[in-house]
């Protein structure tokens, strides 16, 4: 599928739709309708709609995937009853939450209480527009798309803190504080680990980073950076073992204690959107994105949508690792988490930068031989 991209498909759809409408309308209107600007505008809308629906379905499937996998770890079956093997259970749950009345405590600040979850959700969803899924299946080749993605990703603590503070609840406030502290602490090692990838690939453009991994995936030379990045991502996603902002044992539900109905659904959904984004980032930066190594038979990589297929497989595998961690580890304490973040993660990330610099200078890998100059 080299020719057809998601945008070209939506542009063709847009032109087709507008042409059909224009054919039954008088000349001045039909002329305007088929002008390039309008076609492009509608194409962008269709593009976004497809992206939105696809990413939402993926997010909800991710929840199903986690529930089933956790169930297997725990000797039970997970969701079973709605749809085949519980596939539709989360849609049913979503509908239930949608129908519920949204309750706001009397003393809560109205603006922050409603704006917080909405902004959290929106900033998480925007990321899908930034990340390339496969060749041609992204909203555009931004030269700094990696930086943009991480910048949007780090909005979250602000909105979490706003919604926690405005719910006027002590548990929420403590949870919000912890969340902000934790996310800020782990932004730094994540960015430093990413610097290692940027040094090796020579670009901030995610497309370029993936293309650089045609020869070898970055996880092997940059194993240290991968470990730091995955640990940091676990903290950013607030998953066990780093889920203490919503540690239900002491803080009830942490910063979303006071939220119910659709606002709660926003938080939950955005959490899984961020989990999906985190897994996608790991795949893009370290696991070769949609590329497959050359020893994989061509038949497995050349069928239509093979890039997306392999990309999704990798993404779900990475998320499966997160679920595995969740099923087997207890939760750490805030001070331990922050100490690990500042005292261990940052030196490790700096070390990985040094290793990356050495790698770029020497241009030789153990076992794999020497590679052509990078960053071309």
């Amino acid at each position: 599928m080299t020719g057809a991209t998601l945008y070209s498909v939506s542009a063709a759809l847009s032109a087709l739709l507008l042409g059909a409408v224009a054919s039954i309308l008088p000349a001045p209107v039909s002329g305007w309708l088929t002008s390039a600007d309008v076609v492009t505008g509608l194409a962008v809308l269709i593009f976004s709609a497809i992206l939105l629906v696809a990413s939402m379905i993926n997010t909800i499937m991710l929840i199903w995937f986690e529930r089933k996998m956790l169930g297997r770890f725990m000797d039970r079956r997970g969701a079973m009853h709605v749809g085949y093997a519980g596939l539709l259970q989360n849609f049913a749950d979503g509908l239930k939450l949608f129908r519920k009345n949204t309750f706001r405590p009397q003393e809560a600040d109205s603006l922050g209480f409603y704006a917080g979850p909405t902004a959290y959700m929106v900033t998480s969803m925007i990321l899908f527009g930034v990340l390339p899924i496969s060749t041609g299946w992204s909203s555009g080749a931004l030269p700094l798309s990696l930086l943009l993605a991480l910048a949007i990703f780090s909005f979250a603590p602000l909105f979490i803190f706003v919604s926690a503070w405005s719910s006027n609840n002590k548990y929420s406030l403590i949870g919000g504080m912890r969340s902000a502290a934790q996310m800020i602490a782990y932004e730094v090692p994540i960015l430093l680990a990413v610097v290692a990838v940027v040094i090796v690939s020579g670009s901030f453009d995610l497309n370029v980073i993936v293309n650089e991994q045609q020869n070898y995936w970055f996880w092997f030379p940059l194993l240290l950076a991968l470990i730091v990045f995955v640990a940091g991502m676990l903290a950013e996603m607030e998953r066990i073992p780093f889920d203490l902002p919503e540690a239900e044992a002491e803080l009830v539900e942490g910063w979303n204690t006071e939220y119910g109905g659709m606002l709660f659904a926003f938080f939950m959904l955005a959490d899984y959107v961020r989990a999906l984004i985190g897994s996608i980032l790991v795949v893009l930066l370290f696991l070769g994105g949609w590329t497959m190594p050359s020893w994989v038979p061509a038949a497995a990589t050349s069928f239509p949508l093979a890039g997306i297929f392999w990309f999704m497989i990798k993404t779900y595998a990475v998320f499966g690792l997160f679920v595995w961690i969740r099923a087997s580890l207890p939760r750490v304490r805030t001070d331990q988490l922050l100490r690990v973040g500042w005292n261990r993660m940052i030196p490790l990330a700096l070390l990985s930068i040094v290793l990356a610099a050495v790698l770029v200078t020497v241009r030789c890998l153990p076992f794999l031989g020497c590679v052509p100059p990078v960053g071309g």
């Binding site: 956790l70 770890f73 725990m74 000797d75 039970r76 002590k170 548990y171 403590i174 066990i240 073992p241 889920d243 203490l244 540690a247 239900e248 044992a249 002491e250 009830v252 969740r326 099923a327 087997s328 580890l329 207890p330 939760r331 750490v332 304490r333 805030t334 001070d335 331990q336």
Partner: protein, 378 residues
């Protein structure tokens, strides 16, 4: 800042309130508030026949019903000058130890959930279900058994029970290894649990703390050894003791107690296989309110000059040392019934073992206490 952890809070494992004054994340002062679940069990007992009190005993600690029945029944039998048959003594010992396994599994499940482990929670709950199935097979109920009777137990064990129990014990004993792997092999577990919630042996004695918490401070005190009741002087077991007096030590003590409980259960099963016999005393006063008395043992009518008496018992129930005091003034009902709940003292000592640690330490520490609010408030 004062925080109310309770009465509706995931940490409490029941209906009570832990008021905590925090400075940042550090606990400065705590104030446990109990009484949300008070049902006046002691007062209600004064208006019931001796056997009808057993129903209430199941409701004191709802995860250790048989142990509490046993506690009351010893005191009531003393007060009424009755002696249960030996087989009943063994069945009670067996029930106590099965109950200890079930209760400790419940504790394990709740405790690991408190530190964020979800998988072992379900493992432990499932294994506990196997024990509950055993209870169901010989008492007819899974939580509120009403199995003990003044002068024995209600019915003998069903056919095939001992073999089934042996099988379950083998399975559970093998599972303990998994439990330890899931907790003790995890570095994060030790980071969370080592050295927190320390209550020294001296403080334990001062605050009346008993049971696994006391033994975790290195004090070798177990009523089953020190003041044997039922058949405990005829079975072999070791007292589980650990050093450190922290959450990990309590974990180790409870896990070892479960292993010892399996050992005791196996011995009682062997004895029960070899020694059939009656499980209820022959001559029972009819007014014990024994509608379940077997045919042919209808008992004798109340005589006005039935001997009075007082009964005192102390039992090592899964949470600690429980005590009961029953006064018989010759009437159909006990004149006074009084209980001592171990968990009440264990919670009260929170003022000693919580301050100085962090808010995030409260769930593991309180989880390691093994709270059962039913018996605290009675």
């Amino acid at each position: 800042m004062w925080i109310n952890m309770g009465p509706q809070h995931p940490m409490t494992h029941g209906l009570w309130n832990l008021r905590v004054r925090i400075e940042g994340e550090i606990i400065e002062e705590v104030d446990p508030e109990m009484g949300y679940l008070h049902r006046g069990i002691e007062k209600i007992s004064e208006d019931r026949h001796y056997n009808e009190v057993i129903t209430l005993m199941d409701r004191t600690c709802y995860v250790a019903g048989l142990a509490w029945e046993h506690l009351y029944i010893i005191a009531a039998e003393q007060a009424l000058h009755l002696e249960p048959p030996e087989r009943a003594q063994y069945i009670r010992t067996l029930s106590d130890e099965l109950q200890r396994i079930a209760s400790h599994l419940m504790w394990y499940a709740a405790f690991v959930q408190d530190i964020g482990l979800m998988t072992p929670f379900l493992y432990a709950m499932r294994d506990r279900d196997l024990v509950l199935d055993l209870f169901q097979s010989y008492t007819g109920a899974r939580m509120t058994y009403e199995y003990n009777r003044v002068g024995g137990v209600r019915n003998d064990l069903p056919t095939g029970f001992t073999d089934r129990t042996r099988k379950v014990m083998d399975w559970i004993y093998a599972r303990f290894v998994d439990y330890d792997h899931l907790c003790l092999d995890s570095d994060i577990f030790h980071r969370r649990c080592d050295g927190i919630g320390v209550l020294s042996a001296r403080d334990c004695v001062d605050w009346g703390v008993t049971g696994p918490m006391l033994r975790s401070a290195g004090v070798r005190r177990d009523l089953r050894k020190d003041r044997p009741y039922a058949a405990y002087d005829r079975v072999e077991f070791d007292v589980a003791v650990a050093d450190g007096a922290d959450v990990t030590a309590r974990y180790l003590v409870r896990m070892e107690e479960m292993r010892q409980a399996v050992r005791i259960v196996r011995q009682t099963l062997d004895w029960l296989d070899k020694n059939p016999g009656p499980v209820l005393a022959d001559r029972l006063p009819r007014w014990l309110g024994a509608p379940y008395a077997p045919v042919g043992r209808e008992g004798y009518l109340l005589k006005r000059n039935f001997p009075t008496g007082r009964g005192f018992s102390s039992v090592e129930e899964p949470h600690g040392e429980a005590q009961a005091y029953v006064v018989n003034t010759g009437g159909e009902h006990p004149y006074r019934v009084k209980f001592r709940s171990p968990v009440f003292a264990n919670i009260a000592a929170a003022q000693k073992y919580l301050p100085g640690y962090r808010v995030a330490d409260i769930p593991p520490i309180m989880g390691s206490v093994d709270i059962c609010v039913g018996e605290v408030d009675r």
